[in-house]
C-alpha cells in the first residue's frame, strides 16, 4: 500500500529554511516562555529583529529546516508581530500596499483579537477588558489599554530545561538595543508553560492533549521514509492537509496541465507574507475545581466521572477516542485492546478509516461521540453534515502549539493560583480557520444540519462543554449525550442531560499575530517590502 504522503502532487514544497519552525512541526520542547514586548523605539525594534535573524547572534529565530541527524537543538525561538506592531515598524505606504494585496488574510488580523472577541466567544468574564493581569505577569506600570495596541511583538522561547529557557531569555534581552529613553523594547507580559506531573502533553483537566495535529503533505518528515526514520507508524488514513493552510503560499494552478485549472490557495497575499503564517495567541485560564466538581457530581448508574469527561471531550483521559473504544480507555495490559499500531487519531465519524480500531462503524447520530464533544466539533473529520465542513475538515484546521501554565491542581489543597493553557493556534487565514472554528463550531450549537437526523440533542449541541461560556444563554448551561446503546434513531428523551454546565475555560489574554517567514522578517527589520 502506498502511503498517501508519498504520492506526488502539484502543491508547492514548503521552503523550510524560510518558514518559522514551530509552524509545521511541533518540537515538543517542554519548557516554554511567551514574552510580549511593547516597542519603545522603532529603530531599536528593527535592530532587535535583525539581531535575531538566523546567523546574526547567539539567539536566533528557528526555521523549519531539518535538523542535522534529526537532533533537536537546545532551544527554538519564534517571533510574531501584532497588527499594531507592524504599524509601528512599517512605512505607511508599504503597509497599505501589503494590506491592499492581502485583504483575505489581513482584514481580521487588523481587527485583532480584541476586535474579534465577540465572534469567538470572548464575552463576559472572558471579555478583553479583563485580559492580561489575571494570569501571567503584566510588567508595564500602566494597565492594559482597551484595544491592546501597545502589545507589538510576541516572542516564544522553547527549551529543554528551565535553565536553558532562562539562559536564552537573557540572551534575547541582550539583543534589545538601548535607545534615548531606555531599552527599545519593553517587556509587557510574560507567561511560562511547564509540563504537569502527569506528563508531557497533559493539561490541567487531566486529558492527554495534542493528539491529532493535521496530517501534512509535502513535508519530509511525513513521508514513509521520514516516519520510519522517526520510529513512527506509517499507518495514517486521514486525508492530507496541504501546508498552504498553515504557511502563506503564492497562488498556483491545482493542475498545471489545464488552462482552466482552479488556482490555490483561495487566499491572496503580498509577497511580504509568503512563508509566514498567522496565529491566535491565547491565554486560557482553566477552572480545574469547577471542572472536577462538575465531573464528579453523582449522576446515576453507569454515568461515571470518567465517562462524563470522555463524552465532553470525545476522548478518555488517556487520549483513547470514544470512536475507537466507546466504553473504556484502552488498557495496554489487556490483550483484547490490541494497541499495536494505534495512534490515537486514525478514525472517522461517518465511515470508518481503512485501519480504524474498534467496532464502531458509524456515528451519524452522535451516540458514541456527541456532536457537542470538544474534539468532534473542533475537527469534524468526515462528518459532512457539519456546516462549513466541505472538504473533510481539510481547510478548517489549526496547528496547535499550546501547553499548560500554572502548577498542578491539588484537590486536597484547592487554591486560586492561575492555571490553564497557553499557546499559539496557527493557520494561514484567521478568519477562515481560527475564528470560523471558534464562532461556528465551538461557541454555537446548531452547526450540524442537512436532514431530520442532523442534531436532535435538546440544546442543538449548545457550546463546547469543555469550554462552557458565561453568556447567560439557557442552551449553553447544559450538556447532553446519548448512551451508546440508545436506539437506532434516538429521540430527544433518550439523552442524558447534565444541567448546570459552568464556564470552565476563561480567556485571560489574546493576540492575533503574524509569524513572518525569515525573509519577511528580514524585510520588517530593514523597513522594506519585497516587490510583488
Amino acid at each position: 500500500m502506498i502511503n498517501l504522503n508519498d504520492i506526488r502532487n502539484n502543491y508547492p514544497t514548503p521552503k523550510l529554511d524560510d518558514i518559522q519552525g514551530i509552524i509545521l512541526r511541533g518540537y515538543t520542547f517542554p519548557y516554554i516562555r511567551y514574552i510580549i514586548f511593547t516597542i519603545a523605539d522603532k529603530n531599536g525594534a528593527q535592530a532587535f529583529l535583525s539581531n535575531i535573524l538566523p546567523g546574526a547572534s547567539d539567539i536566533e529565530v528557528t526555521s523549519a529546516k531539518p535538523w542535522e541527524l534529526d537532533k533537536r537543538p537546545e532551544y527554538s525561538l519564534t517571533v510574531g508581530l501584532t497588527y499594531s506592531g507592524m504599524r509601528e515598524l512599517m512605512q505607511e505606504e508599504n503597509r497599505e500596499e501589503v494590506e491592499g494585496r492581502s485583504s483575505n488574510v489581513f482584514s481580521l488580523f487588523m481587527e485583532g483579537a480584541v476586535g474579534d472577541a465577540i465572534a469567538v466567544g470572548d464575552v463576559g468574564a472572558s471579555a478583553p477588558k479583563n485580559w492580561w493581569k489575571r494570569s501571567g505577569e503584566w510588567k508595564l506600570n500602566e494597565n492594559p489599554s482597551a484595544n491592546n495596541n501597545e502589545l507589538h511583538i510576541l516572542v516564544s522561547i522553547y527549551a529543554d530545561s528551565t535553565a536553558n529557557r532562562e539562559d536564552y531569555h537573557q540572551k534575547l534581552l541582550a539583543q534589545i538595543p538601548l535607545s534615548d529613553n531606555g531599552l527599545a523594547l519593553k517587556e509587557a507580559y510574560l507567561q511560562d508553560s511547564d509540563p504537569l506531573k502527569a506528563g508531557d502533553d497533559y493539561i490541567h483537566f487531566g486529558y492527554k492533549d495534542s493528539l491529532s495535529q493535521p496530517r501534512l503533505s509535502n513535508v519530509p518528515w511525513n513521508t514513509t521514509q521520514g516516519r520510519l526514520l522517526l520510529g513512527k507508524s506509517t499507518v495514517d488514513d486521514r486525508p492530507l492537509v496541504p501546508p498552504y493552510h498553515f504557511v502563506i503560499t503564492p497562488k498556483f494552478k491545482k493542475d498545471p496541465s489545464k488552462t482552466d485549472s482552479p488556482m490555490l490557495p483561495k487566499y491572496k497575499a503580498h509577497p511580504l507574507l509568503y512563508n509566514g503564517s498567522f496565529a491566535a495567541f491565547r491565554v486560557l485560564h482553566q477552572d480545574v475545581k469547577a471542572f472536577k466538581d462538575f465531573i464528579d457530581k453523582p449522576r446515576g448508574e453507569g454515568i461515571t466521572p470518567a465517562l462524563v469527561a470522555a463524552k465532553m471531550c470525545g476522548r478518555w483521559y488517556d487520549g483513547t477516542p470514544l470512536m475507537v473504544s466507546p466504553d473504556h480507555p484502552l488498557q495496554p495490559e489487556n490483550p483484547d485492546d490490541k494497541l499495536e499500531g494505534f495512534d490515537f487519531t486514525n478514525f472517522n465519524y461517518m465511515s470508518r478509516t481503512a485501519h480504524q480500531r474498534g467496532d464502531v462503524q458509524s456515528d451519524d447520530f452522535g451516540q458514541v461521540c456527541p456532536y457537542a464533544a470538544h474534539i468532534r466539533r473542533t475537527n469534524p473529520r468526515d462528518d459532512w453534515k457539519v456546516q462549513g465542513n466541505t472538504n473533510n475538515a481539510e481547510e478548517k484546521r489549526l496547528m496547535r502549539r499550546a501547553g499548560p501554565y500554572g502548577p498542578d491542581y491539588n484537590p486536597e489543597k484547592p487554591d486560586n493560583i492561575p492555571r490553564g493553557l497557553v499557546g499559539l493556534f496557527i493557520c494561514a487565514n484567521l478568519s477562515a480557520q481560527f475564528s470560523f472554528i471558534m464562532e461556528t463550531w465551538v461557541t454555537n450549537g446548531g452547526f450540524r444540519n442537512g436532514d431530520e437526523n442532523s442534531d436532535i440533542s435538546p440544546n442543538k449541541s449548545g457550546v463546547d462543554p469543555v469550554f462552557g461560556i458565561d453568556d447567560g444563554m439557557a442552551n449553553h448551561e447544559n450538556f447532553a449525550f446519548l448512551p451508546p446503546a440508545s436506539p437506532e434513531k434516538p429521540k430527544t428523551e433518550d439523552y442524558t442531560i447534565l444541567d448546570g454546565l459552568p464556564q470552565f475555560i476563561r480567556t485571560d489574554g489574546g493576540l492575533y499575530v503574524f509569524l513572518p517567514g525569515i525573509e519577511g522578517l528580514r524585510h520588517l527589520a530593514n523597513g522594506t517590502i519585497p516587490k510583488p
Binding site: 491592499g100 485583504s103 483575505n104 482584514s107 481580521l108 465572534a119 488556482m263 483561495k266 487566499y267 491572496k268 456546516q387 462549513g388 466541505t390 478568519s431 477562515a432 464562532e439 461556528t440 454555537n444 450549537g445 446548531g446 444540519n449 442537512g450 436532514d451 431530520e452 442532523s454 436532535i456 442543538k460 453568556d471 447567560g472 444563554m473 439557557a474 442552551n475 449553553h476
Partner: protein, 217 residues
Amino acid sequence: MDPITSLTAREQQHMLLLFMPMKKLGGAKALQTVSDLQLKLTEKAKDNRAATGVHFSMFYYLPSGTTPKLPVPSFQTAEGKDLLVVQALYDADFKPYIDSFVNDPDIAGGLNFILEHMDESGIVKDTDPTSAKYIIENGKVEENPNEFYCLLMRYNFADPTIPAAAKITSFNKYLLTHTFPGLTIEKILDNYPNARELWPSKAPVINFAESKKPVCK
C-alpha cells in the same frame, strides 16, 4: 415547559435589507437569475433550508430613472443605474448566514452574477478589495467571503445585531418584531408535524388562490 427567555445568536432572527446599485438592465438580469436559481435548487431537491435559515425573502428592482409608484420619495435609483432591493428575515448571525450561500456552488454562482452586474462607480474604487469588481476579478465570492460581507454591509440598511423580538424593550435604528422569536427554520422542520412531507425540499407547484386587495381610487 418554561417560556423562552434566552436565545443564542444562532437561534435569533435578523433582517437583511439591501439597496444595491446595478448597471442599467442589471437589476432585471439579477432578478431573473435569482428566479432561475430558485427553480434550479428546488428541482435539485437540495435541502439547504436549515443551513441558510431564510424565513422569507423579497427581491425587487427599480429600473434606472424610475420611481416606485408611491406618493412619497422612497426607493431611488442613482443616475444611470438600476436599483436592486433585497429583503430577508434569516436565522443566526450575518456571517454564517452569508457563508451558507457562499459555500453552495450553485448559489455562489448566482451571487457572482449579481456582482458582475453591479455598478459601484462613484461609491467605491474598483481597487478596493470590497468592491464588486475587485471580488469578481480576484477569485469571486468563494475566495473573498470577508470582502463580500463588507460589500453587502455597505448597502445593508438593516442592522444584523438587532434581533427580531416579540417584546421590544429598547431600540435604536428600527423596530423588528417576530411573533415567535427563536423559532428557526431548523426547528420548524424538526418539530412541525410532517414538515418535510408538507413542504418537501423539491417544492411542488402550489396553486395559490387569488388573494384580494381593497378597492381604492
